[in-house]
Amino acid sequence: MSQTFIEILRRALDEELARDKAVHLLGEDVAAGGAFGVTRGLAQKHGETRVRNTPISEAAITGMATGAALCGLRPVLEIMFIDFATLSLDCLVNQSAKYRYMSGGQLSVPMVVRTQAGAAGGAAAQHSQSLEAWFIHVPGLIVVAPSSPLEAYGLLKSAIRMEDPVLFIEHKRLYTMREDIPATLELPPIGRARVARAGDDLTLIAYSAMVPTALEAAEELARSGISVEVLDLRTLLPLDMATIAASVSKTHRALIAHEAVLNGGVGAEIAARIGSELFDELDAPVTRVGCPFVPIPFAPELEHALLPGRDHIVRAAREMLGTQG
């Protein structure tokens, strides 16, 4: 049975609400279905005490989710746009991430913050960002970015079962993506990347909506005889360096692609690690494809000119392969 990304998220939440009484959903409009319809019907089904609307108070609701998590609930908080996570940052960074550590292990914060990121045509600078890099900088957080409905289903369930605060970053452009979900599914572990496509000539590391793009690029490169291995990171924090190392040790070339701005992005962290831990495996400099250092503009031509896509990846890969390409 094929479902869209949104439908699959709803299904995952529905199943988790049924499975564990501690799971509670909260956020702006969640009882009414949420801005993107993910939670539609869940309040009616599980009760208004389990799925609660909140006012527009990101700071307070993030704090409440954290406080409730300290006391035995498993809140799943929806922050409508990652751009608004700025309002949640004090709590996420100074409280949620650090409670376990500061208390010397007495307490933990089993909460999930669901949010979505990315540019999707005309939402402009304050509703289109990819800010995951901020969060990988905070010890104590977990950051997950699923790349497809199947991945989102499993990863959300895994996230809800974690004992630590998870930032679960969906992508607007993936919301309408369809996929078949098998009847039974093993939950992918948090912190383990997936080889989305095997290859020998180059390791292409991506996450979220860039994974389908990376797979398209790999397909195009295959027609020129270039065999690309695509890694879907799934979890950005903690980073699965073991899978990256195994792949780069085989291909000797690493290319990282993400929609977020290049400067200080997740790709920079990965590139630094590859450079220091896998130096002797490299046959070419580690390369990144990402957005230039510009806010996302409104007009479609401008937005399109900025966003990295399949062609950018293909071009970068060819350059890395040089005369071999």
Binding site: H24, T49, R52, T54, P55, S57, A59, A60, I61, T62, G63, M64, A65, T66, G67, A68, A69, L70, C71, G72, L73, P75, D90, C91, N94, Q95, Y99, R100, Y101, M102, S103, G104, G105, Q106, L107, S108, P110, I136, P139, G140, I142, M162, E163, D164, P189, I190, G191, L237, P238, L239
Partner: protein, 331 residues
């Protein structure tokens, strides 16, 4: 002074004992800080003990307490072990948080002290969350959050009042209004001189009381907490008090006049309770003995704390994550 007949002598003496222990505790923190044994910036609640003691007398172990950077008194009043609390403040492995939190981040989960936080007003929504959890779990526990008048400048203060009221959370907001936020007076922070004025817009019951009258605090807290336990929703209790020490240890208090300081000593809650007890017929010697016992208790605990083991550097990476597969990993 409130009607002395409303509280038994032994309960009153309990209150005095706790007041004295907190006072002594803060004096020891101040002493050791001056000697360089306390890392960082401890914030003392000297003179404000009555609020902690009066409110916490009504709390069960299961009730949750949140406080701020000036929270030693609240933590002790909730029942935390003196030695473990002091050990945490001086960074020992035997401290409440194994030396990882310190003065501003005291947590004693077993006694419902869910945390002090160093971000002003950061604790308010956390307490609301704890209250929400109690409500969702159908328990009769309540949550109490202590904060200073400075926190009312933060947006999240208002967000939390709104939500607590909206969801009828079992939450007691206790504001210690000492007229000073960090280094500036309340008049310079706000045109709203009484914090209780913020309750009405959020349809919340409130009261402003003399925070240095422990019996008065005790009475007002009893009423407020009873109402909350009845399911009537959150309550904002404003306690007017005075901060005897500076903002933090080392603060020379240039901003107070000598007259101010003398008047403040008049209002000292311990002196006031002592006067009350003496007026009620208690012998000076007995009072002094009680005070001395409290002092000794603290001194001994402090010495044991100082003898406690320091944390091993090799353990620095522990407790970042609870998930076993993630703890100790470099990101």
């Amino acid at each position: 002074m409130t009607d002395p007949g409303s509280l038994s002598l032994s309960s009153t003496l309990d209150l005095l004992g706790m007041l004295c222990r907190i006072r002594q505790f803060e004096l020891q923190v101040q002493r050791l800080a001056a000697a360089g044994e306390v890392p960082g910036f401890p914030h003392l609640s000297t003179g404000q003990e009555a609020v902690a003691v009066g409110v916490c007398a009504h709390l069960e172990a299961a009730d949750t307490l949140f406080t701020g950077h000036r929270g030693h008194g609240h933590v002790l009043a909730k029942g935390s072990d003196i030695e473990a609390t002091f050990a945490e403040i001086i960074g020992r492995d035997s401290g409440l948080c194994r030396g990882r939190g310190g003065s501003m981040h005291l947590v004693d989960a077993g006694r419902g002290v869910l945390g002090a936080t160093g971000v002003v007003a950061g604790n308010l929504p956390l307490a609301a969350g704890a209250a929400w959890a109690a409500q969702a779990q159908g328990s009769s526990s309540i949550s109490v959050v202590f904060f200073g008048d400075g926190a009312t400048g933060a947006g999240v203060f208002h967000e939390t009042l709104n939500l607590a009221s909206l969801w009828k959370l079992p939450l007691l907001f206790v504001c210690e209004n000492n007229g000073v936020a960090e280094f500036t007076t309340r008049e310079e922070h706000s045109n709203v001189s009484k914090v209780s004025a913020f309750a009405a817009p959020y349809a919340m019951p409130t009261k402003t009381i003399d925070g240095n009258d422990v019996l008065g605090v005790h009475e007002a807290a009893r009423n407020a907490i009873a109402a909350i336990r009845r399911g009537e929703g959150p309550y904002l209790l404003e306690c007017m008090t005075y901060r005897m020490a500076g903002h933090f240890v080392g603060d020379a208090q240039q901003y107070r006049s000598k007259e101010e300081i003398a008047a403040m000593r008049e209002k000292d809650p311990i002196e006031r309770l002592k006067r009350h007890l003496l007026a009620g017929g208690m012998a000076q010697a007995e009072l002094d003995a009680l005070v001395e016992r409290a002092r000794q208790q603290v001194l001994e605990a402090v010495e044991r704390a100082r003898a406690g083991a320091r944390p091993a550097a090799a353990t620095v990476g522990e407790y970042v994550y609870k998930s076993a597969s993630l703890d100790g990993i470099p990101g």
